[in-house]
Amino acid sequence: MAETKVTPKLEYGMIARFEGPKELLHAAEKVRDEGYTKFDCHSPFPIHGMDDAMGLKQSKVGYISGVGAALGFALGLWLQWWTSAVDYPLVIAGKPFFSYQAFVPVTFGLTVLFGALGAVFGMFHVNRLPQYFHGVFHSDRFPKFSDDAFFVSIEKEDPKYDRSSTMSFLESIGGAEIEVLEGE
């Protein structure tokens, strides 16, 4: 092999594979109890009870969606009031300028629209999506997560992370195919 420039490899963390949903759930409990904080459990589908097993707090997406819905409601009502009663008041069938009963459908529609946008983009924001790259993608095995594989990943930033002790810990809780995530 010709001489190649050796670039120093960066270490991102470690992944270990587990047998199935049950094993992943129990592994999550043990990783949590061991005191790790920057870890994640990757699975093809959401696993019931995993939030508690990992010790996760409730999702914030609901609040973002709620703020969106409130904004949509305010915008919808304001738009119709301002255009119909302030900017260009027109008498139509003798109805009041601010005939709020007739403004319900549009206000409702915009409430739902902004609530939904808040839920989706709030979820993207909290999940940091779209994300160009993540350390777990250095593993060749990892892409199986979207098929039928279950992984625990522990990031190097975790204060408890230590190459050898974390590796033996993951092994002791039943992790297989343990791999250190390294790349340029």
């Binding site: 994640d40 996760l56 997406v61 629209l113 779209p130 892409p143 039928d148």
Partner: protein
Amino acid sequence: MSASSKTETTPVVEEPLITGNQTFHTVTDVVSRIAERKTTVTWLALVGMSASLALVLLGSIGYLVWEGVGIWGLNVPVAWGWAIVNFVFWVGIGHAGTLISAILHLFRQRWRTSINRFAEAMTLFAVICALIFPAIHVGRIWVVYWMLPIPNQMEMWPQFRSPLLWDVFAVSVYFTVSLLFWYVGLIPDLATLRDRAKTKIRKLALGILSLGWRGGNRQWINYERAYLILAGLSTPLVLSVHSVVSTDFAVSMVPGWHTTIFPPYFVAGAIFSGFAMVMTLGIIVRKIFHLEDFITINHLEKMNKIMLLTGMMVGYAYACEFFVAWYSGNVYEAFTFVNRAFGPYAWAYWIMVTCNVLIPQIFWFRRFRRHVTIMFIATIFINIGMWFERFVIVMSLARDFLPSSWDYYSPTIWDILTFIGSFGLFFTLFLLFIRFVPVIAMAEVKAVLPQADPHHGEKH
């Protein structure tokens, strides 16, 4: 004693949602392969045919813009003809997709996971077809943007007290939220396709579309919350959309339209017609892609039960309208209904009653609920019947208050070509969907397999 021990050893087991002893991997494999295989000649031929029909739609719209709405069979008093019939028909079909994805999700109906993906896709495509009709019916289509609150040199604003404008908002919000819902559901499945991709272009395209999804539970927790909120928001939305559509009619003073029963009656009809279309498409997709293990006969039976229920609601509404027309003592109202059933459009009325009320009655029998050919034929009839329901309602216009203006409305060739063309557009979009997108929500189906439960096999 022996009887009780027998019940202990053979507990009642619910039939599995997904059959064929699927593993997580077989689910991935069976569904992904449909989107990954080479383009077949059959598919190309089908796309060719439906795209040609879509061109017929395009041509008809082009001529309409050039010549004006006079090319349709419209005249006063029937100023709304097939365009509004087709609009309500298509937007109604969309409602089943949202019912399946949102309402059944809130009710924890886990069987929905097999059918929600293509039902939602159907919703999107049906709403696209629906939106075309009112947009091209406005006459001067180049100023169609006047329907939106855009600041302009005339300082004019839309008329927010009009149900027609409520419709603009209701249907466009409905489309946007349905698209968001569908896309959020797709993210994990696009990641699956990304991770299986072989070519560079596929990897790149799917990598962008799946946003870097990595299935960590720190992502799932927010994902599931967002999905639940979308379901919660879509549920009142879907009920409101067809209610608003019905106010296009109900807020007017036309006999036969000016009734308070319209919103719930329209919603029930929408779900009824939408399920019929989901079934029609689902049975074909199931057959050609051999998805019998995923869309099982139990799924079809459950949908048939919903059709039986909503069909009865629609039938009840037909009867109720007649009763109220008589009970109100309003001669115009009474005349309209007698005219519907025995007037010049009686043929359409009885097609409607036969297809929507009589034919679904076969679903009282378990044999027919589980007979694929029979239910397929029944869904075709229901699709036809629900189109005629809207036709019957709109044709209340043909005999209005003033007998001197009475006439018999008939469509022109352009009405017919535009409507047939919209099917071309619908099927083109649907064929593109089944070619490139996983037709079944893989991540959701995996989650309802028995082994997905972390307590599977444990004794309680």
